[in-house]
Amino acid sequence: MSDVLKDSREPLAPVNKIIRFSSVDGPGNRTAIFLQGCNFDCRYCHNPETRALCNNCGLCVEKCPVSALSMTDGRILYNPALCILCDTCIHVCPNDASPRILWQTPSETFQEIRKQIPYIRGITVSGGECTLYPEYLQGLFTLCKEAGLTTLIDSNGTFDFASTPELLTVTDGVMLDIKAYDACEHQTVTGCDNTQVLKMAVFLASVGKLTEVRTVAVPELFDVRKTVLQTGILLKPYLPIRYKLISYRPFGVREQYSHYTAPSDLFLQECADALREIGWTDILIL
């Protein structure tokens, strides 16, 4: 098991979860790796415990019913072999930060990915926001490329891909969230500005690395139609790109934000139709 203190020249990243076979994180069968930590604070976040990093307060250690968490040198140590995934630690955390984290080097994560070969065609790294750890991604993707796997990034678009061409050369594509097109609305949804996000959407599309854009549709929170249509117009010169329209669902959402209602199928169909009218063809409603 690795922890943050380990002596290594390899970059580290906090791995929250690895899904060995995933059908929903890009084309085909992929191993999906979820990193901890996010620089957005989306109201409808379905995994709010992946946003903050553990501050080692230790509250969860005594609550863990199977002693899968312990405190060594002021740091939480997580033992996945004992964990029964009961989520008690997540519920008692005052910081919304899962302590079930393994700090891994790219080679350590790759050992886990290798087990799925030849059943997978590639990997997708998601989060949290995985681009908070670009050196780790660079290392991991380089190893995956050597093994013939495709590499996708799931990102909120705050990372400046344009200034790190070496990461893009080992990245097959980015799946980018457009949370809201309008800057004020984006601020409401995520607590952050979106100038960089829209810039990245255009940049990635222009270099052929934008695999997919997606929007979680929460009509009560922002103007979904407007976001979809304006994103559609913005990226029209670079088609074909897939647009994934994801219906809001309350599962996992923090209580204070779980009152939103899911949009109707008809509403999502109308959004899709608006995209089709301006030339989009690959539209998926989930």
Partner: protein, 514 residues
């Protein structure tokens, strides 16, 4: 012929009368059942000593099972006619000239099917339908072609009343193949079973994805590792009945099965099992099969008189026999328990290693045993992972992991399969119900199939967890038909009753959804 007691005769008479009066059997099912009952009055086989106490036992101690083949085999168990020859030459006996167009081709096949016997009295192989029909579709528009294919498949489903009946597709994509998948997707029928012979070098992704989507609609086709089967059985192999690899123009004389869990019950531990009990039972089963084969070839007259043999649609020297086994899981768990260990098959590598060791022992035995009438498979039988029968309780099919004990990760399940599929050229397979609300991505399954076949898995089946047609153990049944039978109404297909038994005894509905 040996004498039998009057007591035995009277028991059979009672059974026959009960069959006649049954409220849930159709007329055809009654006739077939009565034929089996009459056959049990015969005693013509020269049985090996020791067989009786291994064969004629209640299901919880029986070590050898002959799967209802009866006392005097009147025909081989599985018959694989060369339909391509029939399409080219017609049949004198059936008074049919070679078909000239799609109408005649379909009509001829439907006639032929009614004259292909098997253990079930229905054909277990219906041909490589895409290859057979594709040439006749030239110049026929899609609408007409689909209408004809639809009628053809409805006719099969309503007259070939048993889902052990199997059609093949692929490996190469054809227009007929595509249309058949479309029609099957629309019909959602239990019969016929269908297999796509899949080879990523020969089968286009497009066609394979269409097959995946069809399988999530109507639980078929299944996917056979074409490269693997071809390397073992040659180019002219077919998939028949549940998932049995056999030679075109041949078939299987017989299929008997070792009930491994019950053989383990006779053993004091692993060593006694491997050195004494298993070899003893295997030897008796092999000699029993030899005797059944001898009777079929030398005495029954089938190969001398049946038109299939006389006109060359089948050849006796292309037949082999299937040496079957069930209940590896129960066998390993019990032997481990007898050694004082609690590790379980499918969940523990020591237990799985023992499973492999047992398979190696069965394989080695079969490599040594020879039969003069199995020339086509070098004088040996072919190993077969049998899928069980409706009456089985606490007997897991072949080398499968018991339902309810499947590994959490699909990956680990597949890795387990990879250790065992290679032993069974005449068939094995695993089944995975898929949650289609989660997996809307057919490429996901195709990637898994591709990976699995690279790892030498042999045969995979999928169905949507909410589908009406589901795969029971190797054959297909409609949930709605099971419900009908459960409520006491007669149903058209024989396999529905087997499906009802297996869902009650085999917990089919509790299979882990992926």
């Amino acid at each position: 012929m040996r004498e039998i007691t009057m007591e035995h005769v009277n028991q059979i008479r009672k059974d026959i009368l009960e069959t006649i009066k049954s409220p849930v059997l159709t007329h055809e099912q009654k006739v077939a059942t009565m034929a089996g009952e009459a056959d049990s009055l015969l005693e013509v086989l020269d049985l090996p000593e020791g067989l009786d106490e291994l064969l004629n036992r209640p299901i919880d101690t029986q070590c050898i099972c002959d799967l209802f083949e009866g006392h005097a085999p009147v025909r081989p168990r599985y018959i694989i006619p060369d339909y391509a020859k029939f399409m080219k030459e017609g049949s004198r006996f059936l008074q049919l000239d070679p078909p000239q167009d799609i109408y005649e081709a379909i009509n001829s096949l439907l006639i032929f099917y009614k004259h292909v016997p098997s253990i079930t009295n229905f054909p277990v192989y219906l041909g490589s339908l895409d290859e057979l029909l594709d040439p006749f579709l030239e110049g026929v528009d899609d609408v007409t072609a689909k209408k004809l294919l639809k009628l053809f498949f409805i006719h099969i489903d309503r007259t070939v009343l048993d889902s052990f009946s199997h059609a093949n597709l692929g490996p190469v994509e054809t227009r007929a193949g595509r249309l058949i998948l479309e029609v099957e997707s629309e019909l959602e029928q239990a019969v016929p079973n269908i297999t796509l012979k899949y080879d990523p070098d020969l089968t286009s992704d497009d066609f394979a994805l269409k097959a995946v989507q069809t399988s999530l609609h109507s639980a078929k086709p299944s996917f056979a590792n074409h490269r693997m089967f071809r390397s073992e059985l040659g180019e002219d192999y077919v998939i028949a009945s549940c998932y049995n690899g056999l030679k075109l123009g041949g078939g299987s004389y017989t299929l008997c099965r070792l009930i491994l869990g019950n053989i383990a019950k006779r053993s004091s531990g692993i060593t006694d099992f491997l050195e004494n009990q298993l070899p003893y039972v295997m030897d008796i089963m092999a000699r029993y099969m030899d005797e059944r084969i001898r009777f079929e070839v030398e005495e029954s007259g089938f190969f001398q008189n049946n038109f299939l043999a006389k006109e060359g649609f089948i050849h006796q020297d292309r037949f082999t026999a299937m040496f079957g086994m069930v209940g590896m899981a129960e066998c390993v768990d019990l032997l481990m328990k007898k050694e004082g260990k609690s590790c379980r098959y499918g969940q523990n590598s020591e237990a799985d290693d023992l499973g492999v060791k047992i398979m190696d022992a069965i394989y080695a035995f079969n490599e040594k045993h020879t039969n003069p009438y199995c020339q086509i498979t070098s004088g040996h039988f072919l190993l077969h992972a049998q899928v069980g029968i409706a009456q089985d309780q606490g007997v897991t099919p072949g080398t499968r992991i018991p339902i309810g004990e499947e590994p959490e990760e699909l990956l680990d399940h597949l890795k387990h399969c990879a250790r065992f599929h290679k032993y069974f050229p005449s068939g094995t397979g695993d089944i995975f119900p898929i949650d289609t609300t989660v997996h809307k991505n057919p490429e996901f399954l195709l990637d898994i199939i591709k990976g699995a076949f690279r790892e030498n898995l042999r045969y995979l089946s999928f169905y949507a967890s909410d589908s009406d047609v589901i795969r029971i153990t190797g054959y297909l049944v409609k949930r709605s038909e099971i419900a009908k039978l459960r409520s006491g109404s007669a149903v058209l297909q024989d396999t529905t009753a087997l499906g009802l038994g297996a869902t009650n005894n085999g917990h089919i509905e509790e299979r882990k959804i992926r």
